[in-house]
Amino acid sequence: MKALRWHGKEDIRYDTVPDPEIEEPRDAIIKMTSCAICGSDLHLFDGFMPGMKSGDIMGHEFMGEVVEVGSGNSELKVGDRIVVPFTIICGECDQCKRGNFSVCERSNRNKDAADKVFGHTTAGLFGYSHLTGGYPGGQAEYVRIPFADKTHVKIPDGLTDEQVLFLGDIFPTGWQAAVQCDIEPHDTVAIWGAGPVGQMAIRSAVLLGAKQVISIDCVPERLAMARAGGAVTIDFKEESVVERLKDLTNGKGPEKCIDAVGMESHATRSVDAMYDRVKQAVMLETDRPHVLREMIYVCRPGGTLSVPGVYGGLIDKIPFGASMNKGLTWRMGQTHVNRWTDDLLRRIQEGQIDPSFVITHTVSLEEGPGMYKTFRDKEDGCIKVVLKP
């Protein structure tokens, strides 16, 4: 089969690889019908995430048709159409029973390495380094789904791939980011980053009743899409984020702040952003937390910071004193996808929201390697790339 494989920093190739096989009784094999490039794939593309090996298959946003089922899997049958959550879940461990699917205790088969790096393992992920289990990803013609009896979202007839594909990651990610804020009707929610997750977070915050949603970015197309979703926008290249947020909140700051940017924040004018670049260049810092610093600074005392943005390692110069003294609440984590998908699927079926709005580019899997750069550099108005086999 064909698949997109990582061969080093900024080196993704369309390769021929062996077809996957059933390895465990709970497995299933799907024939991929649609997949996407995620913003967090760019951290792998840019070489920021440790644990990748040359030849690893990329991709954790995908869906398809079941073509083979393991002997111990009674939940799926051949022909079922499923979206695959990016987090692999066993459904039986203590964390899964609590609904904390992104920290499943059993699905990461490289648990020892993750224990050393993070203290305790998190869930296995598709196509996201050997720290998370080294599972081949979904940017491939066929994909093996471990623990497939739990790791799936069945899709009924009548919905296109484009409408449901993002149930595997960015839609529940934006939704959880907003839910983590515990939004009240009088809240202003400020969201840094108007990429795909930011766009979903905007619409989630609107649906959850935020009085005002503010989107912060610098790319005109992304800001326009954010406004279409109901956000007031701030272009951080044109004006001061801090001053504008004060203007929009009677000087008090937003009650809730969402970091939909993560480790590759690139604010251009601030001294702290320059500091991060210098430290990263000499390998004294792995991530660039400009957004975290800014959120801590502007958030209203007593407010909440929600962090769906991916971080991988070490950050520096965090004004934790400000956070502590202002009594801020932090909620963060990878998405517990299966906690939300039943509800979100219903909202799609009822027509409340159609996540396909975010797709700007659809190309073949073969063209996928070139799209990584297009997506990363925001060329040609690129916001979200879907790949078809």
Binding site: D46, R98, G99, V179, Q180, D182, E184, P185, H186, Q199, R203, S204, V206, L207, L208, G209, A210, K211, V219, P220, E221, R222, A224, M225, R227, A228, G229, G230, D235, K237, E238, H266, T268, R269, S270, V271, M274, V278, Q280, A281, T304, T329, R331, R339, D343, R347, G351, Q352, I353, D354, P355, F357, V358, T360, D377, K378, E379, D380, G381, I383
Partner: protein
Amino acid sequence: MNNRANIDLDGAGHGAREVDASNTPRAVACGLGWFSIALGLAELLAPRAVSRAAGLDSGPALVRLYGLRELACGIGILTSDKIAPFLWARVAGDALDIGTIVAQSNTVDRQDRTRAFGAVVNVLGVTALDVYAARGIREERSNDVTPPLHDYSSRTGFSRPADAMRGVARADFEAPRDMRTPEALRAWTLPKCTDE
């Protein structure tokens, strides 16, 4: 460090395109900014070594002062909206550097004379880049705003206008207990579901 020249040096947010890291005044200015910072740090932290390399017969205090100047120029170039003044400040600083080297180089020692000559040549080369970048930035600056490539202004994702969808999920969604502020920590003076 990634190779994207994603620092929009004119600060005006023109267009959605990022700077092409090749032969443009902006890219040269970006490089000069980082060069200033690197040189400034070297002059601050190792003034005697920098003096020796330039064949100078001067104390560390003057070199450290020049280091502060370089850092200020570098930070200005990389973070300011208007970078041309900082580039011209670099040109003035280059003139000062050349004057200092000429006035304070050790002309007795042959090796120092050679080093001083080399330093002057280097500074002249950097001066040429400073002038190129400063003049180029001034010429490129324009009042025309590049329009976005694509119009996504109608992509609400909703079945109705966004304002009509506000709060729709409140009717049938309750945040799980582990993602809610505990009741005892809620703003107990604020009635529920009211505006400020």
